[in-house]
């Protein structure tokens, strides 16, 4: 692979759809310096103004009005986040998106935009650093607790939902814990209550099981900070970092098992993944998730995300609303007849808003590949696009093409 292609591959994977100018600058800087620039820490963004949490009051009408207001606020947050993704030339928002799909929590049940935002800020604050503090923070995250019924988990009757998914999906993976660990973990997590009005989670002693429990290869104590000892036990497990590396590889690397990489947090694991020879070899093997496809197109076409929610809804990936706690699908599941049709439609709407001055000359297919950070057109697509003279039509087909569906 040429240096340019390699750098383009790095940018496509770590950030959202690089622009031609970003590719040029990264080629000048070189692969290693670009990797460091992408992974460099960024300041926490100033959050959007969502307004106060709606007060449902006592009546049915009041509750309905509050729900409606909450949905509007979630919409504001989702649009704000999309615009953050479009504005960000680094790896930061892509990683926030990764964590959102990983600790997959949906506003559909949480309802509160403020709690969804607070979780997102936790991803930004802790998601690049050591996993111990991150898991500690997530086990106290109000949105996650609501999502997985943590507030229903009491001493008298533990509710296993949060405990199971924390180990299965978020930190260790199937096989690295037992059913007894699920039950023991649920006891440690008993008594955490979310105060929706205040937007906080706190431990209610009378609902909490204060007995120490045997858990994994150690013990979690029953004190108020037992949740921290649970988090620390988890991240000490030998399965934890390899599990995380595997999840990062699945979204950033390619299908199949992850290469042997080491690191103690997402930043160092990503750095190791991108330095592995398997990473370069995996160019073109990942299917873009709909948000990756759309945000990349918005960046490369320099258009605003307004009005693109119906596209994401039709493609089956609405920010803040993952379909289940397992997150969004990966790979060929996104490649369906209906998603192909939706991309054809959406691409026309995007192309209608874009600058097209550079897409009229004899070298317009090269200009198009350059604009969309596509390595090369296959003979098939080249032959299909060549007769098309209308630049908007050309751009729309390129956005919907097989070459642009993957990265």
């Amino acid at each position: 692979m040429t240096d340019r292609r390699l750098v383009m591959h790095l940018l496509r994977r770590l950030s959202f759809g690089p622009t031609a100018a970003e590719v040029d600058a990264a080629v000048r800087a070189g692969y290693d310096a670009t990797l460091e620039r992408l992974l460099a820490p960024v300041a926490l963004p100033e959050p959007p103004d969502l307004g106060p949490e709606p007060d449902p009051g006592g009546s049915r009408e009041g509750r309905q009005a509050a729900r409606k207001k909450q949905r509007e606020q979630v919409g504001v947050l989702g649009r704000w986040w999309l615009s953050r993704m479009v504005a960000d030339p680094t790896a930061a928002e892509k990683l926030t998106f990764f964590w959102h799909g990983h600790w997959a929590t949906s506003a559909q049940k949480v309802r509160s935009a403020r709690l969804m935002l607070a979780q997102q800020q936790t991803f930004r604050r802790y998601g690049t650093g050591p996993t111990g503090p991150f898991v500690r923070a997530m086990l106290r995250d109000p949105a996650l607790i609501l999502w997985l019924d943590g507030q229903k988990n009491t001493r008298k009757a533990p509710n296993e939902n949060l405990s199971r998914e924390v180990m299965e999906l978020f930190t260790l993976g199937v096989g690295a814990y037992t059913e007894d660990d699920v039950k023991a973990g649920a006891r440690v997590l008993t008594g955490w209550q979310v105060d929706r009005a205040a937007g906080t989670a706190r431990l209610v002693p009378r609902r909490h099981d204060d007995q120490a429990v045997a858990l994994l290869d150690g013990r979690a104590d029953g004190r108020a900070d037992g949740v921290d000892s649970y988090a620390d036990l988890i991240v000490r497990q030998s399965a934890h970092l390899p599990f995380l590396a595997g999840r990062l590889w699945a979204r950033y690397g390619g299908p199949g098992p992850a290469p042997a990489v080491t690191g103690r947090d997402a930043t160092s694991l990503l750095r190791a993944i991108c330095a592995a020879p398997e990473f370069a070899a995996a160019n073109g093997t990942l299917v873009k998730q709909p948000i990756e496809w759309l945000v990349g197109a918005l960046r490369q076409l320099r258009i605003e995300p307004d009005g693109t929610e119906p596209t994401l809804r039709a493609l089956g990936q609405i920010p803040l609303r993952p379909p289940s706690v397992g997150g969004w699908p990966e790979g060929a599941a996104w490649l369906t007849t209906s998603s192909t049709l939706t991309r054809l439609r959406a691409a026309q709407k995007l192309a209608a808003k874009a600058e097209i001055d550079d897409l009229t000359g004899p070298d317009r297919l090269e200009a198009l590949a350059n604009r969309l950070a596509i390595d090369t057109w296959t003979d098939r697509t080249h032959a299909t696009l060549t007769p098309i003279k209308d630049p908007r039509r050309l751009l729309a087909l390129a956005l919907a093409s097989p070459e642009y569906a993957i990265h």
Binding site: S106, N161, P323, G331, A332, A333, S338, T340, R345
Partner: protein
């Protein structure tokens, strides 16, 4: 045959409309993959999230039932009696009527060895039919491979392809209730060109290209009126829902396809939201009522057309309720089968409520027995070839 309905599915296609002038309806249907009139149709309904089987087909006379669920059990007078000490959830009056007419088969205690209590692993097991080591192909995807791989034969109403319909060399098509009208300027010829394979491209890119070819083929088959936007914000939300249009809309599309006698043999539809760890009783009843209304209307509509519907979920729930008035992940659960040629009644052994496996029911019927029966009796294929040599079978034909 309802020619008018057939024609509605065939209009709006540039290719078909052009061809209609020269070939006529019968030939078009032949090129679109017309079917053997005797061929039956399978409709698989997936209930995502783990439906509580014990509060679906309820062993109300068993004292262990009320004991395990003191605040969660139904009282006998609320229930829809099935005889033999069992009853249906009060949310299922339509299915109860079908049962009374001998058309609904209830297979009790369906599961698999070494139950997995993860939604995702267990759903993988159900969809791959490989409990020991779930692979990358679904059982109906493997069936599709054996019949030539035409995506029109197996259709899903979800926006993303369920693993169920992924074969090793082919994949079913997704038609999530939307219309299949092509955008301006996109011709079937263009789709076919972009759908060609190209040398040296990655499997992912080849699959993306194949979708164009599949789209060109599928859209010859089905056009449907646009469906209402699904207001997901109002739908019951749990962490393991499906992501599909409302079930009645999905089944409406299926009914329209069946009535038009299209080539499709397998339809996958779904209803999500069954992961009710808390406050589960009323929520489950409301979800079951949705299933009941959509399914019983569909069964009436397609009766006599060789359609069999099968309903399953990835697992049942723990026998003992938790204190959040919900239930945690469990194991074996009943399946429903309804349709032409199905012998109604209670099948399989009800699992014991006292002889438990770590608090969970022990399965009495292996799910592959049910799949094998569907493959043989509905899809006329060899179950052993698709189910890794599995030889079990149920006797369900009427």
């Amino acid at each position: 045959m309802d020619t008018i309905t057939r024609r509605r599915f065939l209009v709006a296609s540039g290719v078909t409309a052009a061809a209609a002038g020269t070939l006529g309806l019968r030939e078009i249907l032949a090129t679109a993959g017309d079917r053997d009139p005797a061929a039956k149709t399978l409709v698989l309904v997936t209930l995502y999230g783990g439906n509580d089987g014990l509060n679906t087909v309820i062993p109300y006379e068993d004292p262990a039932y009320a004991a395990a669920r003191p605040d969660f059990a139904y009282r006998p007078e609320e229930l829809l009696d099935l005889g033999a000490g069992e009853a249906l959830n009060p949310g299922l009056p339509g299915l109860h009527k079908l049962f009374g007419e001998g058309r609904l088969a209830i297979i009790r205690g369906v599961g698999y060895p070494k139950p997995n209590r993860s939604h995702f692993q267990s759903m993988d097991i159900w969809q791959t039919a490989q409990p020991d080591r779930p692979g990358t192909t679904g059982w109906l995807g493997r069936w599709l491979d054996t019949v030539g791989g035409d995506p029109r034969l197996a259709i899903s109403s979800e926006p993303v392809l369920p693993p169920l319909l992924a074969g090793s060399t082919s994949a079913g098509a997704t038609v999530p209730g939307g219309e299949l009208k092509l955008p301006a300027g996109i011709t079937p010829d263009l789709l076919t060109k972009l759908g060609a394979s190209a040398a040296g491209e990655s499997p992912a890119q080849a699959r993306a290209a194949a979708c164009f070819a599949d789209l060109a083929r599928v859209r010859d088959l089905i056009t449907s009126a646009p469906l209402a936007e699904d207001d997901d914000a109002e739908a019951p939300a749990t962490a393991t829902g499906g992501a599909a249009p409302p079930l009645d809309q999905q089944l409406d599309l299926v009914a329209r396809c069946v009535e038009a006698n299209v080539a499709t043999r397998v339809y996958s539809v779904s209803l999500g939201g069954f992961d009710l760890h808390a406050d589960g009783k009323d929520a489950q009843k409301a979800l079951l009522a949705k299933l009941d209304k959509a399914l019983s209307a569909f069964a009436e509509r397609v009766t006599g057309r060789g359609v069999v519907v099968a309903v399953y979920s990835e697992f049942g729930r723990r026998v003992k309720a938790n204190a959040s008035d919900g239930t945690d992940h469990g194991t074996a659960s009943p399946m429903f089968l309804v349709g032409d040629g199905i012998k109604g009644g209670l099948h399989g052994e009800p699992p014991s409520l006292t002889d438990l496996d770590d608090g969970d029911l022990k399965f009495t019927t292996d799910f592959r027995d049910v799949y094998a029966t569907l493959l043989a009796d509905v899809l006329d294929s060899d179950p052993a070839r698709i189910l890794d040599g599995w030889s079990g079978r149920l006797e369900l034909s009427a």
